[in-house]
């Protein structure tokens, strides 16, 4: 084990953590505002990937344009979901779990039956490798990491400085007090769903060419994103999620490389369970709602 190997592990971990962040950020925003665990959030990621496939491979749009379009389309779907389903279950977690599972099954199945059984592929836009500090990475991943970082920073800035962004934070901290300030709960939750869905769609579209398209690709990502946000402090608006995702990526990378792939997943889950026990509000729980 030399410095080179450790560096490789760090880079691998960061590269998967960065992409997880997009899904986790949306999930935590939705949880922070609506107080429901949207188990169908992974499906928005899946739909994003399929949407980009449909737009770029079948309709012939430019890849980046297809991603933007997919973000808009999936955000619209998110608005519908919020308007007709989640809004009624705001802060009622128990039935909302079943609702989101129903939604998940429906979306998965419609993609499977709607797009045919064969594998789908988004043609990669970037080819070639980048050698960074002696570790070889595909150019595609570097670009994805960069775009993901830009998107996350954009969201952070939006939440920090834009008035609607500040309203999201206010509602996450105290919904009732926010409504007393004249902040509309419904428009905030709609906005949150828009951001969350668009981010998930972007993640799907970005990762589509790197990984593969599969109608069940959402659930494993959802599980990891859930881990990332509990690690960061559930409902924490930005702070913890970023660190949480990166920690998940790093732990997975180190454990896989050092001990082995299957045991790495067990270790990952055990670590999360352990952290929750000693720090029940998440390791980096900073902006927890009161």
């Amino acid at each position: 084990m030399n410095a080179q190997d450790i560096l490789a592990m760090v880079i691998n971990g960061l590269s998967s953590g960065l992409t997880l962040m997009l899904v986790a950020l949306g999930l935590t925003l939705v949880f922070g505002i609506l107080h429901i665990i949207n188990l169908a959030h992974g499906e928005l990621y899946m739909l994003g990937a399929y949407c980009v496939w449909w737009l770029s491979e079948l309709m012939g749009f430019n890849y980046w344009f297809a991603i933007v379009l997919a973000m808009i389309l999936i955000a619209f779907l998110g608005v519908l979901m919020e308007r007709y389903l989640f809004r009624r279950f705001r802060a009622i977690m128990v039935p909302s779990l079943v609702v989101s599972i129903g939604l998940m099954l429906f979306l998965q199945s419609s993609i499977l039956l709607g797009t045919g059984m064969g594998d789908k592929e988004i043609e990669p836009v970037f080819h070639g490798q980048v050698t960074f500090l002696g570790t070889s990475l595909s150019l595609g991943r570097v670009i994805i990491g960069a775009v993901a970082t830009v998107l996350v920073i954009a969201v952070i800035l939006f939440l920090k400085y834009a008035r609607p962004g500040q309203a999201i934070r206010a509602v996450a901290q105290d919904a009732e007090a926010s409504s007393l300030q004249g902040i509309s709960m419904n428009s905030v939750s709609r906005l949150t769903m828009i951001i969350g869905s668009a981010l998930a769609a972007a993640a799907g579209g970005l990762l589509g060419p790197v990984f593969h398209l599969d109608y069940m690709m959402g659930f494993p990502v959802l599980l990891k994103a859930l881990l990332a946000i509990v690690l960061g402090g559930m409902g924490s608006v930005v702070g913890g999620v970023i660190l949480g995702s990166l920690v998940i990526g790093l732990v997975h990378s180190f454990a896989t490389t050092l001990i082995g792939p299957e045991i790495a997943e067990i270790i990952l889950f055990l670590i999360i369970a352990f952290i929750l026990l000693i720090r029940p509000s998440g390791f980096f729980g900073m902006e927890l709602r009161t």
Binding site: L113, H212, E262
Partner: protein, 407 residues
């Protein structure tokens, strides 16, 4: 009430489906039928393969029936497929098998995937022939009514390694990176022995989870050991792994040992240099594929459009043709003892090639059908699978027996 607009719409769609689907299914008139049950996971993890198999089998049966069905012992039969969804669960598999046997009185049940193995607890006592497709080694163990006409992982490995040892002498160090399904487990058990047999060095195995997509950490573990050949499957996950291995600077060969989709190979795109990825597959639509499979692919694509199904789906044509030919030869459609006897004692001309039954030395029953192994390589620059060699089962089986027969 406006709030319920969307939900009402969903309800309406669901109701429409609920009324249309049964109608679409109940159109045939009862003549004499040879019923074949299909205990499939139409929902759940293996749904794509099962649905594709369902569609292609339906097309085939439609064709046979149009030609007047088959004649068994002077009686004309139409074939009827009865699909039961097991949701890819064991209890679903048992329930579905029970339903097929007790309600429909079927004598043949096709099954895909490992949790489906649970059906043998129902089929064995009922003397119903159970056609399995799991690589699990225990699947056949002492099971009189279980039949597997499935390319054995061991046979594929032998054929491919033999080809590699003869044609690619630079391969010396072999490692296994495989998904942790039953084929992967089997591979991790047999590969060290096989490598020793072919004078190669086995340097380690790692099994990853089925949902894995990011292989960088795993490769960081394996590649420093400098393998020349990575043994894996030819599915989507493996293609992804291969692509990422090359991004990580791997320069050696890959060997897939199970069936998989040709499209999955496209994942590698132009990343893998031509001829570096070998596997026991054949592009079902290409000229290299057996004629029947090629025609089948054409018919499937005409009806359901591009995006060919996994070739595992086509595998079930082997089962269908086996049943059709065996009942004709046995002269009965319900004496399963006799049909099984006829089945395992003869050599059959099935869509994937000449098939005969073996296995007494390994599993105590002759339930395993062995067929030719297609050794192919991926020509990435043309996105094509090139058939290198077809190795008859007879050339591979002796080695198999020598290495893996009962001690």
């Amino acid at each position: 009430m406006k709030k319920f607009g969307l939900t009402l719409m969903v309800l309406a769609v669901s109701l429409a489906l609920m009324t249309v689907v049964p109608f679409a299914m109940a159109k045939e008139k009862p003549v004499k039928y040879l019923k074949i049950g299909c205990n499939y996971g139409l929902t759940g993890v293996v749904a794509p393969a099962c649905i594709a198999s369902k569609r292609s089998l339906e097309l085939e049966v439609e064709r046979i029936n149009k030609k007047g069905g088959i004649v068994v012992g002077g009686q004309r039969y139409h074939i009827k497929l009865l699909f039961e969804d097991n949701g890819y669960t064991s209890e679903g598999s048992v329930a579905a098998a029970t339903k097929l046997i007790d309600r429909e009185n079927v004598k043949f049940i096709f099954n895909i995937g490992t949790p489906g193995l649970a059906q043998t607890s129902v089929t064995e006592p009922a003397k119903v022939l159970s056609f399995l497709s799991s690589s699990a080694d225990q699947a056949l163990l002492n099971k009189k009514y279980s039949i597997r006409v499935y390319p054995l992982v061991q046979m594929n490995d032998i054929a491919l390694l033999e080809y590699i040892s003869k044609n690619i002498p630079e391969v010396k160090r072999v490692c296994l990176l495989f998904k942790n399904d039953s084929s992967g487990i089997l591979n991790s058990q047999i590969l060290p022995k096989l490598c020793a047999h072919y004078g190669m060095e086995f340097i380690g195995d790692e099994l990853y989870s089925l949902t894995e997509t990011d292989f960088y950490p795993l490769l960081a573990r394996m590649l420093p050991r400098k393998p020349d050949l990575i043994v894996t499957d030819v599915g989507t996950g493996a293609a992804l792994m291969a692509k990422q291995a090359i991004e990580k600077g791997y320069k050696g060969f890959f060997m897939g040992t199970t069936l998989g989709a040709d499209i999955a190979w496209n994942k590698i795109g132009d990343k893998v240099p031509d001829g570096r990825f070998l596997g026991p597959v054949v592009d079902p639509g290409s000229k290299a594929a057996p004629r029947e499979i090629r025609e089948m692919t054409k018919r499937y694509e005409e009806k359901y459009g591009k995006g060919a199904p996994l070739d595992i789906a086509y595998l079930y044509h082997n089962y269908l043709m086996l049943v059709v030919q065996a009942v004709k030869k046995a002269g009965t459609v319900d004496d399963t003892d006799k049909i099984r006897d006829v089945m395992v004692k003869n050599t059959w001309d099935l869509p994937w090639g000449k098939t005969r039954f073996v296995g007494k030395e390994v599993w105590g029953v002759d339930g395993q059908g062995i067929m030719p192994v297609f050794v192919s390589a991926w020509i990435g620059s043309k996105k094509k699978i090139k058939l290198l060699k077809v190795i008859p089962a007879e050339d591979v089986y002796p080695t198999f027996l020598k290495l893996f027969g009962k001690k």
